[in-house]
Symmetry: D2
């Protein structure tokens, strides 16, 4: 990429003289719903991405109290659906978008509360920063939510949450709402006002069928677009990252880079990403190690 | 889908009472760049897509004269890059987007003119409604443009156009500019101010290598993300559609539906779509036949 | 690969002493249907492939008269099914195998004769060395056979042949009979004693639907295991090879190697091979050019 | 399939009269290495597979003593390579083939013995029926072998075994030796006369990197032809099968059929089979349950 020149800095062979004829032409364009490329090519086709989204840190310590206050003032239920606080990227003009493609939020569920069931074409994941006691019920399968777990709700699966304890719980939600909205592909449907199963098993049925390393049930030989696993447990993620760093200590190839352990959450039916629009990974940096700078397109939430 | 209820029509369990405490809470949200889901879930996650883009017909007979007038008043060259008139969907608020993901335009090149070479990550196709005499030079390969042809310029291939005749020529351009812009993945680079090869061969090198039905050069066994074919000729498209309707007359399965012949342009290395973001097809309806109504997401330009 | 040592030349730590106990042990093996690895590892797992098949040339000028004589003496019909002379590789011990995986033959059909319809799980192709006038009818679709054409009959398609002229015709058949036999996967079924359609169209329906370069019928969007194309015409093969050599003359990358034009016949739904067990290619060497020696596993018929 | 008729039972239109001319013709065939199809079509292309392999049971209780006697009489080492007793299918004429495509054996390693390292293009798996104490070292990675484990040695990986205990151990080997031999693709190379690492870790490096359910190391994003997992542990297999039967008891879809739990061992990079030529599964039938009869091609070893 030649970073030195830009559309605006070249000799503008296409800056026509401002004449009455030109003004008439431009009026004709407007009447016919036409917009010439030459007046806006630099905006439509920039030399490199010029994202409006900006890097921003939301402090758990500052947003958790607001979530707690919401718990006192705002009942959870049908209509609003979830007591969730969307992280609004300061560069994105007041939309509740954390990036041009992702919506991320802190969701809060009070003691004994239920967030009613619904489904939508948007894909969702949840990540538990702290706490426990909530089960998310995905297509009737109750999935325990605990610290460090990644939970999936791929598009068009009914899901609701309920808190089985006397303590509130908060976690992070991630959805492809902006991507879905830009591409006009969002559908939504209400389900039960309660969750369909209030059982609180330690492991979901999805885990009991699918979470045996390298083993695939013969009843599940058809590949699926999204992962059939409802919960990726912290116990496994932590062990995988720990082993990578130990293997590095032993001189074995294992880490993504020196001091940098990393896993990608995958769909066991294909070995690929968990959902069609969202990639999920977990990275662990050894204390004192540094990662190489890199430039890439696409947006990430850490 | 239950079309009867909507987010706005259910009992709003999550419409909290407007109290000083709530106002303070909402002010806290704003200070921390948070937006609650419950105040806008219906906008973020509609019951079904609510596209702003509207159906609209641009008449060739009305926009061609404007393109011709542009030819007189606006020189083609570096900066604006192309004498192209983008079709601005009336529902999309003044952007030069024909749909939420596509940009489409009529491009006009006067006698003996050259549109300079550049490349961009956006994928492009051209379709020739009428005329001839222009060659588009894609990565150094001159490709003749004639009536009914579909021409491809997949992302990051250098390309320019030149008119080898004393007559102007106009055609349709299609690019994934809006999609690229929403996802912040656009790159652009200038190339030669002229085209790199002014030869005017009847067939491009890409066609000479790849346009033999079912035959793949051994020098091209690696699959490519986009089609290696620079031009899909009208002669082939027309014959394929004609044969489908003749086969239908003979009682053979061939058409997409009764009276409805259709082909998809494909990448011969995979049998899939020509480019990662744009699907190209040609449909021909027998006079008097009707197609079934259908509802789908995604946007199309006919 | 260390070519110097072999199983037989190493110090045989596993050549046990011939004692009564050992003989009793070996008798015990035999009684229990056991064979020790150490007595035959060199045969079971050679240092490198030791094919029994040998290179051999069958002269068209010598086998064609025998085929003609067969035409006089042996009627074609049910039971033997085809007047085909299998090329028996001299190294393969009297089996009609041209290689460990392939069966190849010259097939001969006299004036106005019909080879009756049948189908089998074995995959077949035909290649026409000279002559014309026969149509092969594949699942009811009459396919003209002419000089230089490659014709496909993928597994389990009904097919028969008929000669529409007063001249005999001979061609080459290739099938995966040995591969099918080794793996016990052969099925066979009789069809009509005649062919189901005696029409003699210039182009088969499969060609009319599929042989338009890069164009896929919307009625054929499902990928198929084998190519839907019944005939790959010499006209296209010849042109593709000619263009490759011309492009090479122009300094363009096109040939497989200097002076060596080559195409692979492909399945247009995937870009891959025409049939699951047989790869078909056509190679043309410029006069005086040489190809690099190469070593590979697998067997080829040229 | 019409099972009633056969090649031999139809009116043999192609049984030509035995005349001096015919005898001369057949002599000509022989001289030119030709074999007519019509004299052997029923053998080459049977109406349905006629496998020579027969069902046979080898009793562990009868072959283990023979393996033990081999341990006393036959030293393990270079040349024979392994103290393995191949199961010779009684229908396959004295070859050490358990089926037309598979070789299976009981391998026996005495106290403190080492089977030297080698590699071959044939794919191998081991399954441990009973015992423990042996480590197989695959490309330098020591893999513990314990009861119920499935161990993989995909083609061209160096591997040797050593017994770290004072007890002998026996297990089952499975290789694609016949398939490799029919297709002339076998290569073999000697490695170290010892194993390259006598460590006895509880878990191989392959497991530490790959055996975390649904988690893929970022250092391993390239798909591999065979599974990177060296050992599929009985603990996981047993739990997966147990959970399937429990889920069935709870009325949930989980088993392959009523009372029939089953898993397929998979390559986590693709979700597909562990090796290109061998499929590995584990089936558990609930006591008293019956499986449906089925007919299929291909051979299986239970």
């Amino acid at each position: 990429m030649n970073e030195e020149i830009d559309h605006d800095t070249v000799a503008h062979a296409m800056q026509p003289e401002d004449t009455p004829e030109l003004r008439k032409l431009y009026a004709g364009f407007e009447a016919e719903n036409l917009i010439p490329l030459w007046t806006q090519v630099g905006d439509l086709m920039p030399m490199h991405p010029k994202p409006r989204a900006v890097p921003h840190v939301w402090k758990w310590s500052r947003i958790l109290p607001l979530a707690q206050a919401s718990g006192d003032l705002v009942p959870v239920g049908r209509g609003g659906e979830r007591r969730a606080l969307g992280l609004a990227n300061p560069g994105l003009g007041g939309n509740a978008y954390v990036s041009p493609t992702l919506w991320a939020a802190i969701q809060y569920l009070g003691p004994r509360e239920t967030a009613p069931e619904h489904r939508h074409s948007q894909n969702a994941f949840r990540f538990v920063v702290e706490g426990e006691g909530v089960w998310t019920v995905v297509n009737g399968d109750p999935v325990r939510m605990s610290r460090g777990d990644l939970l999936l709700t791929p598009g068009w699966n009914f899901h609701g949450h309920h808190n089985d304890t006397d303590q509130p719980m908060a976690w992070i939600d991630g959805l492809d709402i902006p991507f879905s909205q830009h591409n006009d592909v969002g559908f939504f449907e209400f389900g039960s006002d309660r969750v369909t199963d209030y059982a609180t098993p330690n492991f979901s049925r999805s885990e009991r069928l699918w979470c045996h390393p390298g083993l695939r049930p013969l009843s599940g030989l058809a590949d699926t677009v999204s992962s059939p696993i409802g919960a990726y447990r912290w116990e496994h993620t932590d062990r995988a990252l720990t082993e990578q760093l130990l293997l590095e200590d032993e001189g074995q190839p294992a880490t993504a880079a020196p001091g940098h352990a990393a896993i990608r959450y995958t769909n066991p039916t294909t070995g690929g990403d968990v959902m069609p629009t969202i990639r999920c990974e977990f990275h662990r940096l050894r204390g004192g190690s540094a990662t190489a700078p890199r430039r890439k397109v696409g947006s990430s939430v850490f």
